[in-house]
Protein backbone atom coordinates (compact mmCIF):
# COMPACT_ATOMS: atom_id res chain seq x y z
CA UNK A 1 0.00 0.00 0.00
CA UNK A 2 2.84 2.37 0.82
CA UNK A 3 4.31 1.49 -2.59
CA UNK A 4 1.19 2.64 -4.35
CA UNK A 5 0.97 5.71 -2.19
CA UNK A 6 4.54 6.79 -2.85
CA UNK A 7 4.35 5.92 -6.52
CA UNK A 8 2.01 8.87 -7.01
CA UNK A 9 4.97 11.19 -6.52
CA UNK A 10 5.80 11.73 -10.16
CA UNK A 11 8.44 14.35 -10.95
CA UNK A 12 11.61 14.51 -8.92
CA UNK A 13 12.12 17.87 -7.33
CA UNK A 14 14.54 17.17 -4.53
CA UNK A 15 16.02 13.93 -3.28
CA UNK A 16 17.94 15.49 -0.44
CA UNK A 17 17.37 18.52 1.70
CA UNK A 18 19.70 21.35 2.57
CA UNK A 19 22.68 20.80 4.84
CA UNK A 20 21.14 22.92 7.58
CA UNK A 21 17.98 20.85 7.60
CA UNK A 22 20.01 17.64 7.57
CA UNK A 23 22.06 18.82 10.54
CA UNK A 24 18.93 19.79 12.45
CA UNK A 25 17.37 16.44 11.64
CA UNK A 26 20.34 14.37 12.77
CA UNK A 27 20.50 16.30 16.03
CA UNK A 28 16.76 16.28 16.75
CA UNK A 29 15.73 12.81 15.53
CA UNK A 30 17.85 10.84 18.05
CA UNK A 31 16.73 13.30 20.74
CA UNK A 32 13.08 12.66 19.85
CA UNK A 33 13.49 8.89 19.97
CA UNK A 34 15.47 9.01 23.23
CA UNK A 35 12.93 11.24 24.93
CA UNK A 36 10.12 8.98 23.66
CA UNK A 37 11.88 6.00 25.24
CA UNK A 38 12.29 8.00 28.45
CA UNK A 39 8.52 8.65 28.47
CA UNK A 40 8.04 4.89 28.65
CA UNK A 41 10.81 4.01 31.12
CA UNK A 42 10.47 6.92 33.58
CA UNK A 43 9.28 5.61 36.92
CA UNK A 44 7.58 8.88 37.90
CA UNK A 45 4.72 10.04 35.74
CA UNK A 46 5.72 13.71 36.02
CA UNK A 47 9.06 12.88 34.40
CA UNK A 48 7.17 11.05 31.66
CA UNK A 49 5.12 14.20 31.08
CA UNK A 50 8.23 16.36 30.78
CA UNK A 51 9.84 13.99 28.27
CA UNK A 52 6.55 13.84 26.39
CA UNK A 53 6.56 17.64 26.08
CA UNK A 54 10.11 17.52 24.69
CA UNK A 55 9.10 14.91 22.11
CA UNK A 56 6.12 16.99 21.05
CA UNK A 57 8.23 20.13 20.64
CA UNK A 58 10.72 18.23 18.49
CA UNK A 59 7.86 16.89 16.34
CA UNK A 60 6.65 20.50 15.98
CA UNK A 61 10.12 21.49 14.74
CA UNK A 62 9.94 18.60 12.25
CA UNK A 63 6.62 19.98 11.00
CA UNK A 64 8.20 23.41 10.52
CA UNK A 65 11.18 21.86 8.72
CA UNK A 66 8.81 20.15 6.32
CA UNK A 67 6.98 23.35 5.48
CA UNK A 68 3.87 22.59 7.54
CA UNK A 69 4.04 25.93 9.36
CA UNK A 70 0.41 25.99 10.46
CA UNK A 71 0.59 22.49 11.93
CA UNK A 72 3.90 23.26 13.62
CA UNK A 73 2.36 26.17 15.50
CA UNK A 74 -0.84 24.22 16.24
CA UNK A 75 1.30 21.39 17.60
CA UNK A 76 3.02 23.73 20.04
CA UNK A 77 -0.17 25.55 21.04
CA UNK A 78 -2.53 22.59 21.29
CA UNK A 79 -0.25 19.73 22.29
CA UNK A 80 2.59 21.17 24.34
CA UNK A 81 0.30 23.93 25.57
CA UNK A 82 -3.18 22.60 26.22
CA UNK A 83 -2.89 18.82 26.22
CA UNK A 84 0.27 18.62 28.33
CA UNK A 85 -1.19 21.13 30.79
CA UNK A 86 -4.27 18.93 31.05
CA UNK A 87 -2.06 15.90 31.64
CA UNK A 88 -0.08 17.64 34.37
CA UNK A 89 -3.28 18.96 35.93
CA UNK A 90 -4.80 15.47 36.15
CA UNK A 91 -1.46 14.17 37.42
CA UNK A 92 -1.63 16.65 40.29
CA UNK A 93 -5.27 15.75 40.92
CA UNK A 94 -4.63 12.01 40.98
CA UNK A 95 -1.45 12.32 43.01
CA UNK A 96 2.07 12.95 41.82
CA UNK A 97 3.57 10.09 43.78
CA UNK A 98 1.23 7.50 42.22
CA UNK A 99 4.12 5.69 40.58
CA UNK A 100 3.86 2.33 38.87
CA UNK A 101 4.08 -0.90 40.80
CA UNK A 102 6.83 -3.22 39.64
CA UNK A 103 4.73 -6.35 40.18
CA UNK A 104 3.68 -8.01 36.97
CA UNK A 105 0.08 -9.20 37.13
CA UNK A 106 0.42 -11.12 33.86
CA UNK A 107 3.51 -13.28 33.76
CA UNK A 108 5.92 -12.41 30.97
CA UNK A 109 3.82 -9.45 29.83
CA UNK A 110 6.73 -7.03 29.72
CA UNK A 111 8.95 -9.33 27.68
CA UNK A 112 6.12 -10.16 25.29
CA UNK A 113 5.31 -6.48 24.85
CA UNK A 114 8.92 -5.62 24.06
CA UNK A 115 9.22 -8.52 21.59
CA UNK A 116 5.97 -7.48 19.89
CA UNK A 117 7.20 -3.89 19.81
CA UNK A 118 10.46 -4.91 18.18
CA UNK A 119 8.44 -6.90 15.64
CA UNK A 120 6.20 -3.94 14.88
CA UNK A 121 9.17 -1.59 14.58
CA UNK A 122 10.97 -4.02 12.30
CA UNK A 123 7.88 -4.39 10.15
CA UNK A 124 7.36 -0.62 9.81
CA UNK A 125 11.01 0.20 9.17
CA UNK A 126 11.26 -2.70 6.73
CA UNK A 127 8.17 -1.53 4.84
CA UNK A 128 9.52 2.00 4.55
CA UNK A 129 12.94 0.67 3.51
CA UNK A 130 11.37 -1.36 0.71
CA UNK A 131 9.96 1.70 -1.00
CA UNK A 132 11.96 3.17 -3.84
CA UNK A 133 11.51 6.80 -3.28
CA UNK A 134 11.71 9.46 -5.96
CA UNK A 135 12.13 12.58 -3.82
CA UNK A 136 10.17 15.28 -2.06
CA UNK A 137 7.92 17.47 -4.16
CA UNK A 138 7.20 19.94 -1.38
CA UNK A 139 3.84 21.59 -0.91
CA UNK A 140 4.89 24.92 -2.43
CA UNK A 141 3.17 24.25 -5.77
CA UNK A 142 -0.18 23.58 -4.12
CA UNK A 143 0.33 26.60 -1.89
CA UNK A 144 1.08 29.05 -4.70
CA UNK A 145 -1.97 27.75 -6.56
CA UNK A 146 -4.16 28.63 -3.57
CA UNK A 147 -2.33 31.88 -2.79
CA UNK A 148 -0.42 30.93 0.35
CA UNK A 149 0.16 28.22 2.94
CA UNK A 150 -2.77 29.06 5.22
CA UNK A 151 -5.04 29.70 2.26
CA UNK A 152 -4.26 26.28 0.84
CA UNK A 153 -5.12 24.55 4.12
CA UNK A 154 -8.25 26.64 4.60
CA UNK A 155 -9.39 25.89 1.07
CA UNK A 156 -8.93 22.15 1.61
CA UNK A 157 -10.72 22.18 4.99
CA UNK A 158 -13.70 24.24 3.89
CA UNK A 159 -14.27 22.67 0.47
CA UNK A 160 -13.00 19.11 0.13
CA UNK A 161 -13.13 18.18 3.82
CA UNK A 162 -16.06 20.34 4.90
CA UNK A 163 -18.15 17.36 6.05
CA UNK A 164 -15.29 15.99 8.15
CA UNK A 165 -14.89 19.46 9.59
CA UNK A 166 -18.56 19.64 10.58
CA UNK A 167 -18.44 16.16 12.10
CA UNK A 168 -15.38 17.31 14.05
CA UNK A 169 -17.39 20.12 15.60
CA UNK A 170 -20.03 17.60 16.70
CA UNK A 171 -17.28 15.45 18.17
CA UNK A 172 -15.84 18.35 20.15
CA UNK A 173 -19.24 19.32 21.55
CA UNK A 174 -19.90 15.69 22.53
CA UNK A 175 -16.49 15.48 24.20
CA UNK A 176 -17.12 18.66 26.19
CA UNK A 177 -20.53 17.39 27.36
CA UNK A 178 -19.02 13.97 28.18
CA UNK A 179 -16.28 15.56 30.27
CA UNK A 180 -18.87 17.56 32.21
CA UNK A 181 -21.05 14.50 32.80
CA UNK A 182 -18.10 12.42 33.95
CA UNK A 183 -16.77 15.12 36.24
CA UNK A 184 -20.19 15.79 37.78
CA UNK A 185 -20.85 14.22 41.17
CA UNK A 186 -24.24 13.91 42.83
CA UNK A 187 -24.39 14.80 46.52
CA UNK A 188 -25.67 11.70 48.32
CA UNK A 189 -26.25 13.30 51.72
CA UNK A 190 -27.38 16.89 52.20
CA UNK A 191 -24.76 19.37 53.29
CA UNK A 192 -24.69 19.94 57.06
CA UNK A 193 -25.49 23.42 58.23
CA UNK A 194 -23.38 25.22 60.79
CA UNK A 195 -26.11 24.74 63.41
CA UNK A 196 -26.25 20.99 62.83
CA UNK A 197 -22.47 20.75 63.08
CA UNK A 198 -22.52 22.66 66.36
CA UNK A 199 -25.28 20.46 67.82
CA UNK A 200 -23.33 17.37 66.78
CA UNK A 201 -20.16 18.60 68.48
CA UNK A 202 -21.94 19.17 71.78
CA UNK A 203 -23.78 15.85 71.55
CA UNK A 204 -20.66 13.66 71.64
CA UNK A 205 -19.15 16.03 74.19
CA UNK A 206 -15.60 15.47 72.97
CA UNK A 207 -14.35 18.92 72.08
CA UNK A 208 -16.91 21.65 71.53
CA UNK A 209 -14.43 24.53 71.40
CA UNK A 210 -11.75 25.15 68.77
CA UNK A 211 -8.51 23.24 69.18
CA UNK A 212 -5.57 25.05 70.79
CA UNK A 213 -3.10 26.69 68.45
CA UNK A 214 0.42 25.26 68.10
CA UNK A 215 3.11 26.29 70.51
CA UNK A 216 4.72 29.68 70.11
CA UNK A 217 8.23 29.83 71.56
CA UNK A 218 11.30 31.95 71.10
CA UNK A 219 12.81 29.55 68.59
CA UNK A 220 9.89 27.56 67.21
CA UNK A 221 6.49 28.72 66.20
CA UNK A 222 5.82 26.29 63.34
CA UNK A 223 2.59 24.23 63.18
CA UNK A 224 4.55 21.05 63.98
CA UNK A 225 5.50 22.36 67.43
CA UNK A 226 2.94 21.34 70.06
CA UNK A 227 1.63 23.80 72.61
CA UNK A 228 2.68 23.51 76.24
CA UNK A 229 0.05 22.77 78.85
CA UNK A 230 0.14 24.27 82.38
CA UNK A 231 1.47 21.01 83.85
CA UNK A 232 4.49 21.02 81.49
CA UNK A 233 3.25 18.38 79.09
CA UNK A 234 2.43 19.10 75.43
CA UNK A 235 -0.98 19.17 73.84
CA UNK A 236 -1.47 16.80 70.93
CA UNK A 237 -4.62 18.57 69.86
CA UNK A 238 -2.60 21.68 68.97
CA UNK A 239 -0.80 19.90 66.12
CA UNK A 240 -2.56 19.07 62.82
CA UNK A 241 -3.75 15.48 62.66
CA UNK A 242 -1.91 14.73 59.39
CA UNK A 243 1.41 15.73 60.96
CA UNK A 244 0.72 13.51 63.96
CA UNK A 245 -0.07 10.57 61.71
CA UNK A 246 3.18 11.09 59.80
CA UNK A 247 5.11 11.34 63.07
CA UNK A 248 6.42 14.76 62.10
CA UNK A 249 5.64 16.42 65.42
CA UNK A 250 8.66 18.22 66.86
CA UNK A 251 9.14 18.06 70.61
CA UNK A 252 11.81 20.72 70.15
CA UNK A 253 9.65 23.55 71.39
CA UNK A 254 9.51 21.93 74.79
CA UNK A 255 13.23 21.20 74.74
CA UNK A 256 13.99 24.82 73.93
CA UNK A 257 11.91 25.98 76.85
CA UNK A 258 13.05 23.41 79.36
CA UNK A 259 15.99 21.19 78.41
CA UNK A 260 15.12 18.63 81.07
CA UNK A 261 14.78 15.08 79.68
CA UNK A 262 11.41 14.42 81.38
CA UNK A 263 9.59 17.15 79.52
CA UNK A 264 10.80 16.18 76.06
CA UNK A 265 10.19 12.51 76.71
CA UNK A 266 6.68 13.23 77.79
CA UNK A 267 6.12 15.28 74.66
CA UNK A 268 7.18 12.42 72.44
CA UNK A 269 5.03 9.89 74.23
CA UNK A 270 1.81 11.78 73.86
Amino acid sequence: MIHAFLATAQPVVETSTSAGQAAAFWVLAPLAVISAVLVVVSRKSVHSAIWMALTMIIVAIFFLMEGAYFLGIVQVVVYTGAVMMLFLFVLMLVGVDASDSLVETLRGQRVTAIVLGLGLGGLLVGAIGQVTFSGALGTSAAETAAGGHLEAIAQAIFTKYVYSFEVTSALLVTAAVAAMVLAHRERLVPRKSQREQSVERFKDGTHPTPFPSPGVYARHNAVDTPALLPDGSTSDASVPQSLRRRGAVHPRGVAALDPGPEASDEGEER
Binding site: V37, V40, I153, L171, L172, R185
Partner: protein, 99 residues
Protein backbone atom coordinates in the same frame (compact mmCIF):
# COMPACT_ATOMS: atom_id res chain seq x y z
CA UNK B 1 19.50 13.80 3.89
CA UNK B 2 16.71 11.82 2.36
CA UNK B 3 13.28 13.20 3.38
CA UNK B 4 12.07 9.63 3.91
CA UNK B 5 14.08 9.63 7.16
CA UNK B 6 11.17 11.43 8.78
CA UNK B 7 9.12 8.30 8.14
CA UNK B 8 11.70 6.20 9.99
CA UNK B 9 11.50 8.55 12.98
CA UNK B 10 7.71 8.35 12.86
CA UNK B 11 7.84 4.55 12.77
CA UNK B 12 10.21 4.47 15.76
CA UNK B 13 8.10 6.90 17.78
CA UNK B 14 4.98 4.86 17.01
CA UNK B 15 6.70 1.66 18.11
CA UNK B 16 7.91 3.21 21.36
CA UNK B 17 4.39 4.48 22.03
CA UNK B 18 2.87 1.06 21.34
CA UNK B 19 5.33 -0.67 23.69
CA UNK B 20 4.58 1.96 26.32
CA UNK B 21 0.84 1.28 26.10
CA UNK B 22 1.49 -2.43 26.62
CA UNK B 23 4.07 -2.09 29.38
CA UNK B 24 2.95 0.75 31.63
CA UNK B 25 0.26 0.43 34.32
CA UNK B 26 -0.37 4.04 35.25
CA UNK B 27 -3.37 5.09 33.16
CA UNK B 28 -2.01 8.60 32.64
CA UNK B 29 1.30 7.34 31.28
CA UNK B 30 -0.60 4.91 29.02
CA UNK B 31 -2.48 7.94 27.74
CA UNK B 32 0.75 9.81 27.10
CA UNK B 33 1.98 6.86 25.06
CA UNK B 34 -1.23 6.98 23.01
CA UNK B 35 -0.50 10.66 22.39
CA UNK B 36 2.99 9.68 21.30
CA UNK B 37 1.47 7.34 18.72
CA UNK B 38 -0.83 10.14 17.52
CA UNK B 39 2.19 12.40 17.14
CA UNK B 40 4.07 9.76 15.20
CA UNK B 41 1.18 9.24 12.80
CA UNK B 42 0.88 13.02 12.36
CA UNK B 43 4.56 13.19 11.51
CA UNK B 44 4.04 10.46 8.91
CA UNK B 45 1.03 12.32 7.44
CA UNK B 46 2.94 15.59 7.18
CA UNK B 47 5.92 13.79 5.64
CA UNK B 48 3.67 12.17 3.05
CA UNK B 49 2.21 15.58 2.26
CA UNK B 50 5.74 16.90 1.85
CA UNK B 51 6.76 13.97 -0.35
CA UNK B 52 3.72 14.04 -2.61
CA UNK B 53 3.41 17.79 -2.95
CA UNK B 54 -0.12 17.57 -1.64
CA UNK B 55 -1.72 19.62 1.15
CA UNK B 56 -4.23 16.87 2.04
CA UNK B 57 -1.80 15.14 4.39
CA UNK B 58 -1.54 18.27 6.50
CA UNK B 59 -5.32 18.58 6.65
CA UNK B 60 -5.63 14.96 7.82
CA UNK B 61 -2.96 15.60 10.46
CA UNK B 62 -4.99 18.59 11.61
CA UNK B 63 -8.09 16.40 12.00
CA UNK B 64 -6.04 13.84 13.92
CA UNK B 65 -5.02 16.60 16.33
CA UNK B 66 -8.66 17.57 16.89
CA UNK B 67 -9.68 13.97 17.54
CA UNK B 68 -6.71 13.54 19.89
CA UNK B 69 -7.76 16.62 21.84
CA UNK B 70 -11.30 15.28 22.24
CA UNK B 71 -9.92 11.88 23.24
CA UNK B 72 -7.67 13.41 25.90
CA UNK B 73 -10.56 15.35 27.41
CA UNK B 74 -12.84 12.31 27.69
CA UNK B 75 -10.06 9.93 28.69
CA UNK B 76 -8.73 12.11 31.48
CA UNK B 77 -12.28 12.67 32.73
CA UNK B 78 -12.72 8.88 32.88
CA UNK B 79 -9.40 8.51 34.73
CA UNK B 80 -10.44 11.13 37.28
CA UNK B 81 -13.87 9.48 37.70
CA UNK B 82 -12.27 6.07 38.27
CA UNK B 83 -9.71 7.57 40.64
CA UNK B 84 -12.50 9.12 42.71
CA UNK B 85 -14.25 5.81 43.29
CA UNK B 86 -11.27 3.42 43.38
CA UNK B 87 -8.48 5.68 44.69
CA UNK B 88 -6.14 4.34 42.04
CA UNK B 89 -4.91 5.36 38.60
CA UNK B 90 -3.62 1.92 37.71
CA UNK B 91 -5.15 0.14 34.72
CA UNK B 92 -4.97 -3.16 36.65
CA UNK B 93 -7.42 -2.14 39.35
CA UNK B 94 -10.70 -1.63 37.43
CA UNK B 95 -11.50 -5.34 37.09
CA UNK B 96 -15.06 -5.45 38.42
CA UNK B 97 -16.46 -6.58 35.06
CA UNK B 98 -14.25 -9.66 35.21
CA UNK B 99 -16.47 -11.60 37.60
Amino acid sequence: MNPVNYLYVAALLFTVGAVGVLVRRNAIVVFMCVELMFNASNLAFVTFAHLNGNIDGQVVAFFVMVVAAAEVVVGLAIIVAIFRTRRSASVDDPNLLKY
